[in-house]
Amino acid sequence: MMNIGSLLPILFMLVIISIFTAKGIRRTVNNKGKSVSSSWARRIFGGYLSLLLICTIVVPFISGKDMADLKKAPIDAIEKEGTTLFDAAAAGKITTIDRNFIEKKWDFEYREPKLNLSVGTEEFFATQIFVERKKTNDDKIEAVYYRTRSSVNDMDISVVINPIRLTLAGDLLTINNSKKAKLNFSIFNQIFPVTQFTGEPSLFQHQSSFYEGQSILYLRIPKDLELNSKSEVNIQFVE
């Protein structure tokens, strides 16, 4: 039930405004002095109405193109994707994951016996690392970065998010979080006489639902490569 308390201040403000506008209206309309002439009033209203109609026609074009690429991404769908990705990686069946979840792939030539691993910002490192030891020592390290969709208010915004950054220098492989992407946009809610019936967030409720996709780094390293991690991060080995 909408909390009436929050309605009080609004109502009070409206009353103040109504007194002000009532005076304004009464003065222009009701004083027997020179009031707005009907032909002038008709012109103004006509202009306003045509302005509204023009905007109604224009709006689909201006908001249309940004709108188009924000396809629907319901939270339960992308949640399921995240868990299937995680489980597949954990069970070593990464290949079963749909290829377009692959954000980025790296291939490094690495002949040294030991590899150090470090992570840029330990606490906030959001990507889960999986390591798979290859059957042979082919001196090659393959790194594949998978990520499932993210959404804001059920709209797919994955295209905005940047991939993580991998750099190999000497015997140190550093993994940095992706560059923080900034996204701000505006949402237009329908006016409350409509939202009251369509069940959307109506009057005064403006929480937005934000869901970040699951991101995984899948390393495939040569059989005998010794891996030690310089920073506190959870690495999961795959059998």
């Binding site: 020179k34 009031s35 002439s37 009907s38």
Partner: protein, 300 residues
């Protein structure tokens, strides 16, 4: 067939009785003058006839129906008065168009010709007009509507003499070409006297005299002469008005019940007999005291 009949009509505002048991009936297609002092109830009566006010008691029938809140009566009456409310947002031309839409017998050709004759500017607004121009515009509405019952309450306030004359002339000519019942309430009885067929005189909310205007002229007679002789002649007569003139002369107005011979004898006796105009008679009849304002001064 009478267009208005009313008997025992009373209207109270709080304790004061605007109309006090008023009874009269007006035939259709006549021009009647409604004459009375300020506050004698003229406007109240007209508002009740037009259905704007409800009578406190008594009975009134307009087109043989109760006028209050009656659509048919409203459709056949136009009530012209000086505080007329006309829409503020419409210019004069638009008001004529709106009025034409409301009144069945509206004669737009007459309206337009009057409109041009009195040189109104169609795009002006009603409140911007002067008092006289407003009255003139109201009268155009009143005449062009050609309602079976047209009520004019002080139609000529603010009009200059020329316009007043034109208005009366226009009213007469339109009345001749399109007969209807017209009631004019006015203070300038002398101007409108000749146009009236009947005169209804109202005093303190009650009808005082209701006669054809010609009879009004012969209803009383003025006698001027030596006070002694005058008193002698008017000993048993009802004196309507007396005024002393000079040292020993006085002017008296009494009911005109003299026969031809009596008039001759009075003349010989040195009394000057003169007719009393309707407007003077009305003033005398409705004044508080016989002497009128003079009594205020010579009370000593």
């Amino acid at each position: 067939m009478s267009v208005i009949t009313c008997n025992g009509l009373t209207k109270k505002y709080g304790r004061n009785k605007a109309l006090n048991n008023l009874s009269f009936s007006i035939e259709e297609n006549k021009i009647t003058g409604l004459i009375g002092r300020n506050g004698s109830g003229k406007t109240t009566l007209l508002k009740i006839i037009a259905g704007h006010l409800k009578e406190t008691s008594g009975e009134i029938k307009v087109f043989s129906e109760k006028p209050y809140n009656n659509l048919m009566v409203s459709a056949n009456i136009i009530f012209i008065h000086d505080q007329m409310n006309l829409p503020a947002a419409l210019n004069l031309k638009e008001i004529l168009v709106v009025a034409a839409n409301f009144y069945e017998n509206w004669n737009s050709e007459l309206a337009n010709r009057l409109f041009d004759y009195f040189s109104f500017n169609p795009s002006h607004y009603y409140q911007d007009l002067s008092k006289g121009m407003k009255s003139t515009f109201n009268s155009i509405l009143g005449l062009s509507a050609r309602c079976p019952l047209t009520l004019f309450d002080e139609p000529t306030t603010g009009m200059d003499a020329g316009v007043r004359h034109d208005f009366y002339r226009a009213m007469l000519k339109d009345y001749i070409s399109y007969p209807r019942s017209i009631i004019i309430s006015s203070h300038h009885l002398n101007e409108v006297e000749d146009l009236l067929e009947d005169i209804l005189l109202i005093k303190e909310g009650k009808e005082h005299l209701h006669l054809p205007s010609e009879d009004f002229k012969e209803w009383s007679i003025g006698m001027q002469g030596k006070t002694a002789i005058i008193n002698e002649w008017t000993v048993d007569k009802e004196i309507i008005h007396t005024r002393s003139i000079g040292l020993d002369q006085s002017y008296v107005v009494v009911r005109n019940q003299f026969s031809e011979q009596e008039v001759q004898r009075a003349r010989i006796a040195g009394i000057e007999l003169s007719p009393v105009s309707a407007s003077d008679l009305c003033v005398y009849l409705t004044s508080k005291t016989e002497g009128g304002i003079d009594d205020v001064f010579n009370h000593g």
